[in-house]
C-alpha cells in the first residue's frame, strides 16, 4: 500500500478537539486524513456527507476533550460509538486495521473495552480505567517516554527498542488503573506495554516525570494483537523540532519525536 493511498478517519463528536493536529500528523507522513463526525458514520448526516468506516485504513481518536468529558473522560464518546457503530469498530479491529487513541482517545479506547482487551476484541464493560492524576489536577508539560514494546505494537514498529522520546502530556485523568493484581504482569507477558514514563536520564520516573501516578509508569498500551494503541502523551504535537521545548538548545533532529509513531504505522501499511 502506497502512503498516499492510506485513508485515515479522524473521528470526532461534539466538543472534540485536537482533531486538526491528529489529521495534520497523518498528512505529514503522506497519508490522506479526513476529520469525520460520528454522525457521518452512523447515517445521521445528509447523503453526501455519509461515510463508511470500512473505506478507511486507519481509525484515530484525537486527544483533548469530548462531550464535555461529563460522567468520566471519554465515557460518553465510547457509549455513543458502542450504541451506533460498535460492530463496525469491532470488525475494523478484527481485520487488523490500526486504531490509535491519544489522550482523550486513549480514555475512549479503555471505556470502549478495546484496551486492554485481554479476552476477545472488545470487552462489554471497561476492564481498566484512566483515573484522576495523583496530584488531583491537570498536568501539562513535556514527558520522556521509553519505547518498551518488544515488537508487537504497530505504532512502535519503527522505533528502536528502549529509545527515549520527548512527547508532551496534558491531562487530568491519565492514571492507568486496574483492580486485577496481575494487570501489569499480564500486559508485560503479552507485550502490550508500549511506552513508559521515565526521567530524562532513562531512570524510573518519579513525579513530575510520571505526571499521573500510573501503575508501573505506563504511558501507553496496545491490545494483544498490537493493532490498537492508546497513549496519554501527544505525539501529534511534536511532528517538527519547533514544538520541542529545547528546540533552540541542542535538539539536533529536524523531525519531532512524535513523528516515528506515525511513520511506524505507515511503514507497517506499506508492507501490506
Amino acid at each position: 500500500m502506497k502512503p498516499e493511498d492510506v485513508k485515515v478517519c479522524v473521528i470526532r463528536i461534539e466538543g472534540t478537539n485536537c482533531e486538526d493536529e491528529m489529521a495534520g500528523a497523518f498528512e505529514a507522513v503522506g497519508a490522506q486524513a479526513e476529520k469525520v463526525h460520528l454522525k457521518q458514520l452512523i447515517k445521521q448526516a445528509p447523503a453526501g456527507l455519509r461515510r463508511d468506516l470500512e473505506d478507511y485504513d486507519v481509525l484515530a481518536f484525537p486527544g483533548g476533550f469530548s462531550a464535555g468529558d461529563y460522567v468520566r473522560a471519554g465515557a460518553i464518546f465510547a457509549a455513543r460509538i458502542k450504541a451506533g457503530m460498535g460492530s463496525e469498530v469491532r470488525r475494523f479491529v478484527e481485520d487488523g486495521k490500526p486504531v490509535l487513541g491519544v489522550c482523550n482517545g486513549f480514555q475512549i479506547l479503555v471505556e470502549l473495552g478495546l484496551l486492554p482487551a485481554f479476552e476477545g476484541t472488545m470487552s462489554d464493560v471497561p476492564a481498566a480505567a484512566l483515573y484522576t492524576n495523583d496530584s488531583g489536577r491537570f498536568e501539562c508539560r513535556p514527558t520522556v517516554l521509553r519505547n518498551d514494546s518488544r515488537g508487537k505494537c504497530i505504532f512502535a514498529s519503527s522505533i528502536p527498542e528502549k529509545k527515549l522520546l520527548t512527547i508532551p502530556s496534558a491531562h487530568a485523568e491519565g492514571k492507568l488503573l486496574s483492580m486485577d493484581p496481575d494487570f501489569v504482569q499480564k500486559l508485560e507477558d503479552n507485550d502490550q506495554i508500549v511506552f513508559r514514563y521515565v526521567c530524562p536520564d532513562g531512570s524510573p520516573a518519579r513525579y513530575p516525570w510520571n505526571p499521573n501516578g500510573s501503575q508501573s509508569d505506563i504511558a501507553g498500551i496496545c491490545n494483544p494483537a498490537g493493532n490498537v494503541m492508546g497513549m496519554m502523551p501527544h505525539p501529534e504535537r511534536v511532528m517538527t523540532r519547533f514544538t520541542h521545548p529545547d528546540w533552540t538548545r541542542g535538539y539536533i533532529s529536524e523531525e519531532g519525536d512524535g513523528r516515528v509513531v506515525f511513520e511506524s504505522v505507515m511503514r507497517h501499511l506499506e508492507k501490506r
Partner: protein, 79 residues
C-alpha cells in the same frame, strides 16, 4: 413519575484526590476533627415508569455508562 437517585462512589482502595484536596483545604480554613472527605457523584433521573422498572433501568444505566466497574461502585434508590 419515578425519580431515582444514582450514587456513584469510588471503590475502597481507589485514591480520591478530589476528596483529599478538599479535606486539606477545609482544614486550612480552620475546620477541625475531619476524619475523611470522600467525593461522590449523584445523578437524579426522572422516569415515566413504576419504581421496579425504574430501579432496573437505573442499574442498566450504571452498567452501560455511569459507572466504571474497575474503580466505582453504584447504588440506585427511589427517591
Amino acid at each position: 413519575m419515578t425519580v431515582i437517585e444514582i450514587r456513584i462512589e469510588l471503590k475502597k482502595g481507589v485514591a480520591d484526590p478530589e476528596g483529599k484536596n478538599t479535606r486539606k483545604t477545609l482544614e486550612s480554613l480552620g475546620f477541625e476533627g475531619i476524619a475523611d472527605v470522600r467525593s461522590v457523584k449523584l445523578f437524579e433521573v426522572e422516569l415515566d415508569m413504576p419504581a421496579d422498572d425504574a430501579l432496573k433501568a437505573g442499574e442498566e444505566m450504571c452498567r452501560k455508562l455511569l459507572a466504571n466497574p474497575v474503580i466505582q461502585n453504584y447504588r440506585v434508590t427511589v427517591r
